[in-house]
């Protein structure tokens, strides 16, 4: 019996072009970021200019992407609004969006302007800032504070289900750091332990993470440069 040859993969011209563009621009950007000694200065300069232009292009495209994201957000939640009252939160989101945008435009064009303590019109967009601090900052801070209670209670119940060495170690580390942070003179020993923990084990672990991240970025970069990683298709 003759073995059937594996089916040939269909060549997608579009994917091939995208890969070629991606690899090319990656090389240009890479050479533009750091001067490559074997190349002439003019070439390095040119590559640097191109690289900077590409990076700047990225920021512009990203800004447009944010705008498109806002439009998509409006579109999605507009669909959900039709299922009222199940989509009450979508309605609130859309209303909040339009209210903030309208207020911002009114404030920007001078139609609606807050005043400072002296009664003079405020130079800063006080309305927009107030809305931000009143709603977003407050809500996020409150949620972060609730996290404090949750984490403490979770640690409190951690050994209820099962007692293992790792659970005990984790609980001990948390307790040492917390107690060491509190400036209690009688608990200065915990402070010393805390500082040692942060300086040695935690710093080592963090560096290890950073090294791992760096290696991962390097691998991904190589794969992109060699055309093996084509995440841009998605």
């Amino acid at each position: 019996m003759t073995t059937q040859p594996p089916p040939r993969r269909r060549t997608n011209l579009r994917a091939a072009l995208l890969t070629a563009f991606t690899v090319g621009f990656c090389f240009i950007t890479l050479l533009g970021i750091e001067r490559f000694a074997p190349l002439p200065n003019q070439v390095n300069t040119l590559l640097g200019d191109v690289s900077r232009g590409l990076v700047q292009l990225v920021t512009i495209v990203a800004a447009l992407a944010v705008f498109l994201g806002v439009l998509n957000l409006v579109r999605v939640h507009s669909r959900k609004v039709r299922r009222f009252p199940q989509a009450i939160y979508s309605l609130l989101l859309i209303l909040s969006l339009f209210i903030v945008v309208i207020l911002h435009f009114l404030e920007r064009f001078g139609t609606l302007r807050a005043t400072d303590a002296l009664g003079a019109p405020s130079a800063a967009p006080a309305i927009s800032i107030t809305l931000l601090n009143t709603f977003q900052v407050a809500v996020e801070t409150a949620l972060a504070s609730l996290l404090f209670f949750t984490l403490v209670y979770a640690a409190f119940r951690m050994l209820r289900q099962r007692t293992t060495i790792w659970n005990v170690l984790f609980i001990a580390a948390v307790a040492v750091v917390l107690l060491g942070f509190s400036p209690v003179p009688s608990l200065s020993i915990f402070t010393s332990i805390r500082e040692w923990l942060i300086a040695v084990p935690v710093s080592a672990g963090t560096r290890g993470l950073l090294i791992g991240v760096g290696l991962g970025v390097l691998v991904v970069g190589v794969r992109v440069l060699t055309g093996r990683d084509r995440g841009f298709r998605e």
Binding site: T59, A63, S122, P125, V137, R162, L178
Partner: protein, 1203 residues
């Protein structure tokens, strides 16, 4: 192995011409002689001449194949052994000396050809060559048919596309029209009807269109077995000629063809009265008859002559066949050779797939294993020692059939249906006529009439067939009287049945010589008068006709319908049960008439002769719809009536088509007594003869009058004597031995038929196969196909009958809905038997849902599974519901006290320092109490801040989310105050949109803070775009950070994009010097997460175009969460990252160290806040330790109890 690998390595074109002419093609791989076989039949069938073996790719495979439609240029698809003859052969007779090989062929054929046929062959010149399918060889000594002449065929027509009309020569093959509706998904078991040219007689509804070959289930070809005779297996086109190692048929190029190619084709496709018959391959009863002056046949009516490319639908059918029977008997067959040509054309049109159905061994070519396996029915031959005739010998047997025809006054045995089983060696010596007496027959041709007996083939003389043909009355041509009777009966039948599309066949499609019943004798110069010839032949042969045959024949050679009408009752008495009282009479009161061919054939005196039909082709069936009426339906109805006599009335309602036909026939049968009884008494195809009548014929002519002149003569013949018929077949005759051995078809049969043939116990198998209604009904389950056949109820085993009764009872059960809550809730009778269970056992009924015992068990099993599943799901649902209820109740009834206490303790620890000084127990950090490490950090930080000169822009990055504002806002405010106090002008950027706006609000508050302004001695607040800038949001994440770094070093477009406008869209007014100053001072980064720190540290670096040795320095001010990463970067890049401040504690220290807490209130608030943080941390630690201790003890105790 792929087909490509099996193909010959080189083509015929690459061979030398002399090799090609000699038939040596593909010599290295194809000239391999057939392997020796122990089968004596095989050895006897090896043709000596032109042994052209079949290439491997043409050998039959073990499975069915699709016979692909032949493309217009057939060069590529023709078997290689045919290619050499294309265009290379000279016209015959050749002007010059023939090649030696051709001469040999001619001589060989002449030697083998009966002398009485020789004049006919020599009569007409031809420009075509013929193929001799194997001349007898020495190995054929035992073959009684060895002396028979090989079939001839107009291969010119086959090879010349022009003569094919450029169209599908099998367009008339309409019998497969029904198969289109059931086109199977798996086309591997299909046969394109276009390739079955010789089968076109079986259908006559609509011609298949060119390029759209109709598809037939090979299963539907099963009922063709009886017609293929010795070729029960339809495998492939190449099987028609050669298979495997079998030698291919010899081509008799010396055989004269009496008609030009066009005439051949015309006759073979349209005018050939036998073209419509299923004269399969070598079993063509007239194939051996030398074509005599087909070109001299009367021309067809010109106004109705269809184009050659599109042969008319086979409206001729059996009628045409019978009409031409006398001529066939006389040897003046109008186009007997054309019939051969027809099937040869069909055979050559077929592509040679590996395992296409075997149409049967044709000539010597059918000596392959498969062919012999398919010929397994021969094992049941009454003469087992006698080798079965090969295809070529079968062709010789055609002469035997012809002889039988001559000896039978009715002429019915000349039908191919009879001929094939006569020819295949299945003759029962005890019942078959003794053809040895045919030596006394007059020569059918005028020239041959004087031939001595020595010219008679040996098998005739030696008396291979049993000598049971008694003397009989001499044959007499039918008289017009009988024609009138037939006409009357037919007219009455037509009136009763009503016009049908098929019955509306124009008379023009029937040749005039058939219409008038008179051959133009002037155009048959070499032939004697037909009637006289027949009379002479029959008179000579009548002595050898057995009594039973004589009885059925009466005293005439032509069927005398009136006489048969009188004989009909006697026939009915001997009819098998399924044809007799149980078949048609159960449904109506009209007398039962064997209206189908099978029934009449069954009553043939030769009915007991074992037929080869048992060797049915697996998964093949043939629609026997012939002529005007749907014979298939008729037969189906007949079978239905047989099977379910009690349900006949209901079935008539449920199946209007079938029953309508049946009723029509039966009513007509009741109305016309004598004539129709005669018709019913007609063996074989008599009914079809009566049914295949064009309606537009003039009354005086009548349909039956349009038959051959012999029929007219038969009308005046005396009535058939009621001769004692042979004993009817026993109720349960011994079942013919199933095909054994090597056949592939056998395996397919076993595979394809699950419910086989219990009826064979009661009926001869060949009779069963004759019934199209019993054609296998194909059940397609995915790619699997199961063929099932209708069987009479009487033939069913007892347990199946009991099951049938039970299922019938189930049908009457009231409609039941599936139980509530089940998977099939609300569905009526979801798993109940289908109501058609009690319907007649027709094909449709079977397809509708008759359940076998196994199926019933499967249904029961399925129901049990579903019930169990429903019960399980219900149980689980109840458990889940109970569990949910329990959990909800538990949540409501048992609040977590520990959680409440923990929360309460934490809240108290956080809030208590703000309400009382009693809680201020913790020591407030002071810069003086810092450790050396912290002191160094603060020193570096203050150095960076102090580097800010008056009016110098300072880049401050706000990259923390609002959730980190509680931790970093104080640090940011302290930084901004310090910068502003030092005269710096903060330029604020952020990669977080909300952070940018939050920073704007933060610095705006500071700029308008009266206390702060007062402390600085400023009367006016700080103004945006003058004292500070909020550039705002840097899009692109890390790309934005990189772009910012690049923008600091290039006065380019990217710099303007970032620095030209602030977050309010106003021009910043930053100059190039201001931007350049940003890179000279360290950037203060306020980051709340590791990712922000990493992005800035890694991307905010000097670009390539930066001045040598210059770097962008940073000061990190991060939250505690990002402290680890920031500390790592700070430690690794001390020259670029100047310092780091972490969280609330460093913020408090920085504020104290920078003197920003000069106010007592500010200091008090800062202290309380610090106490709150200290209490919270302490309380959290205590709570966590307490909980860990309690739970650990509890867990250990539980473990101890468990131990």
């Amino acid at each position: 192995m792929t087909e490509q690998n099996q193909r010959p390595m080189f083509d015929d074109d690459s061979l030398p011409a002399w090799l090609t002419r000699a038939g040596i093609t593909h010599a290295p791989r194809r000239a391999t002689p057939p392997p020796a076989t122990a089968d004596p039949r095989r050895a006897s069938q090896v043709a000596p001449r032109l042994q052209i073996t079949v290439p491997p790719w043409e050998t039959p495979q073990a499975r069915d194949l699709v016979i692909e439609p032949i493309p217009a240029p057939m060069d590529d698809v023709l078997p290689p052994w045919l290619r050499p003859f294309k265009g290379t052969l000279p016209d015959f007779p050749a002007a010059g000396p023939l090649p030696h090989w051709q001469t040999e062929v001619i001589q060989s054929v002449d030697a083998d050809m009966p002398t009485w046929l020789a004049p006919a062959l020599e009569a007409a010149p031809t420009d075509s060559f013929d193929l001799d399918f194997g001349a007898p060889s020495a190995a054929d000594e035992d073959n009684p048919f060895a002396d028979l002449e090989r079939p001839r065929s107009g291969f010119t027509t086959m090879l010349n596309p022009n003569k094919l009309g450029g169209t599908d020569i099998f367009a008339g093959l309409d019998w497969a029209s029904e198969s289109e509706a059931q086109t199977p998904a798996d086309e591997s078991k299909l046969i394109k009807t276009d390739q079955l040219g010789s089968l076109e007689w079986q259908g006559s509804e609509t011609p298949s269109s060119r390029g759209q070959p109709k598809i037939i289930h090979t299963d539907q070809l099963g009922s063709l077995e009886w017609q293929t005779g010795g070729t029960p297996e339809l495998t492939s086109a190449d099987d028609l000629f050669a298979s495997g190692d079998a030698p291919l048929p010899d081509f008799d190029f010396g055989t004269a063809q009496s008609a030009p190619p066009e005439a051949d084709f015309l006759a073979g496709t349209d005018d050939d009265p036998f073209a419509g018959l299923d004269i399969p391959m070598d079993d063509d009863p007239f194939a051996d008859v030398t074509p005599v002056q087909t070109g001299a046949l009367p021309s067809l009516p010109t106004e109705s002559e269809p184009p050659l490319a599109e042969p008319a639908p086979t409206s001729r059918g059996l009628l045409s066949f019978l009409e031409t029977t006398p001529e066939s008997a006389t040897g003046a067959l109008p186009s007997a050779d054309l019939a051969d040509m027809d099937w040869l054309d069909a055979a050559n049109q077929m592509t040679p797939p590996a395992d296409s159905p075997n149409f049967g061994a044709t000539a010597e070519s059918a000596v392959t294993d498969a062919a012999f396996a398919d010929l397994g029915w021969l094992d049941s031959s009454p003469e087992p020692t006698k080798p079965a005739p090969s295809g070529g010998e079968a062709d010789k047997d055609l002469l035997a059939a012809l002889a039988g025809l001559e000896t039978k006054p009715t002429g019915q045995t000349s039908s191919p249906a009879d001929a094939d089983w006569l020819l295949t060696g299945a003759l029962d010596p005890a019942q078959a006529p003794d053809l040895s007496t045919l030596g006394d027959l007059p020569d059918l041709t005028g020239a041959a009439s004087d031939q001595p007996t020595a010219d008679i083939p040996d098998w005739i003389k030696t008396g291979y067939l049993p000598d049971q043909l008694p003397d009989g009355p001499p044959a007499e041509p039918p008289t017009p009287k009988s024609i009138d009777a037939l006409r009357a009966s037919t007219e009455s039948l037509r009136e009763t049945a009503g016009p049908t599309p098929e019955s509306a066949q124009p008379a023009m499609e029937i040749p005039d010589w058939l219409m008038t019943g008179n051959l133009d004798e002037s155009k048959l110069p070499s032939l004697p008068q037909t009637s006289s010839l027949m009379s002479a032949a029959l008179a000579a042969a009548d002595e050898d006709v057995p009594e039973w045959l004589r009885g059925s024949q009466a005293s005439t050679s032509m069927p005398n319908f009136s006489a048969q009408a009188s004989a009909a009752p006697n026939l009915d008495e001997d009819l098998p049960d399924w044809l007799g009282t149980g078949a048609l009479t159960d449904s109506v009161d009209a007398p039962a008439k064997p209206l189908d061919a099978s029934a009449t054939t069954d009553k043939s005196p030769l009915a007991d002769v074992p037929r080869p039909s048992k060797v049915r082709r697996p998964e093949t069936a043939v629609d026997l719809a012939v002529g005007d009426l749907d014979i298939d339906s008729l037969l189906s109805s007949a079978t239905a009536a047989i099977d379910l006599s009690a349900l006949q009335a209901e079935s008539a309602k449920e199946q209007p088509t079938v029953e309508a036909d049946l009723d029509t026939l039966e009513l007509s049968t009741a109305q016309s007594t004598a004539a129709l009884e005669a018709m019913s008494a007609l063996p074989d195809l008599g009914a079809d003869l009566a049914l295949d009548l064009p309606t537009d014929l003039p009354p005086d002519l009548g349909v039956m009058a349009s038959a051959a002149p012999d029929l007219t003569a038969a009308a005046e013949a005396p009535a058939l004597p009621v001769a004692p018929l042979p004993a009817p077949p026993p109720a349960e005759p011994a079942k013919p031995e199933a095909p054994k051995g090597r056949g592939r078809g056998r395996g397919r049969k076993d595979r394809s038929t699950t419910e086989v043939a219990v009826a064979a116990e009661a009926l001869p198998e060949w009779v069963e196969v004759l019934k199209p209604s019993t054609g296998p009904v194909i059940f397609e389950i995915g790619d699997q196909k199961v063929a099932m056949e209708d069987q009479p109820i009487a033939a069913l085993p007892a347990h199946l009958r009991a099951l049938r009764e039970k299922l019938g009872a189930v049908i009457s059960l009231p409609t039941q809905l599936e139980p509530k809550g089940s998977t099939l809730e609300g569905i009526q009778n979801a798993l109940s038997p289908i109501a058609t269970t009690g319907a007649p056992s027709t094909a449709a009924a079977i397809a509708g849902g008759r359940r076998t015992a196994a199926q019933a068990r499967a249904v029961g099993t399925l129901q049990a599974i579903l019930s169990a599943q429903d019960a399980l799901m219900q149980k689980r649902g109840e458990e889940d519901l109970a569990q949910t209820t329990f959990i909800a109740r538990k949540v409501r009834s048992r609040p977590k006290l520990d959680r409440f206490l923990v929360t309460l303790a934490l809240i108290a620890s956080v809030l208590l320092p703000f309400f009382t000084d009693v809680a201020s127990v913790f020591q407030v950090p002071r810069p003086e109490t810092l450790s050396a490490t912290d002191q160094a950090r603060f020193d570096a930080f203050f150095n960076a801040v102090e580097s800010v000169q008056g009016g110098t822009p300072v880049l401050v990055a706000f990259d923390y989310a609002p959730s980190a504002t509680g931790e970093l806002d104080e640090l940011a405010k302290s930084l901004l105050r310090d910068v502003l106090r030092r005269g710096g002008r903060p330029v604020i950027v952020s990669t977080n949109p909300s952070s940018a706006l939050h920073a704007y609000g933060l610095i705006s508050d500071l700029a308008n803070d009266v206390a702060f302004l007062t402390s600085l001695g400023r009367a006016e607040p700080f103004a945006a775009r003058r004292d500070y800038w909020v550039i705002g949001y840097l899009s692109g994440g890390i790309g934005g950070v990189r772009a910012l770094a690049n923008a600091l070093y290039a006065d380019t477009f990217e710099q303007r994009v970032i620095f030209d406008q602030d977050t309010e869209g106003q021009p910043t007014g930053l100059s190039a010097a201001d931007i350049q100053a940003l890179r000279n001072l360290p950037t203060f980064l306020l980051a709340g997460a590791n990712e922000d720190v990493r992005a800035w540290v890694e991307q905010y670096q000097t670009p390539q175009n930066a001045p040598q040795g210059e770097s962008l320095r940073m000061v990190l001010m991060v939250s505690a969460a990002a402290s680890t990463v920031a500390q790592s970067y700070t430690a690794s890049q001390p020259n670029r990252i100047l310092s780091i401040l972490i969280g609330l504690r460093d913020s408090y220290l920085y504020a104290q160290a920078s003197g920003q807490l000069s106010d007592a209130t500010m200091q008090q608030n800062a202290d309380r806040r610090w106490q709150s943080v200290a209490w919270s941390a302490l309380m959290s630690g205590i709570i966590i330790l307490l909980g860990a201790a309690l739970n650990m003890i509890r867990d250990l105790a539980r473990r101890r109890r468990q131990a």
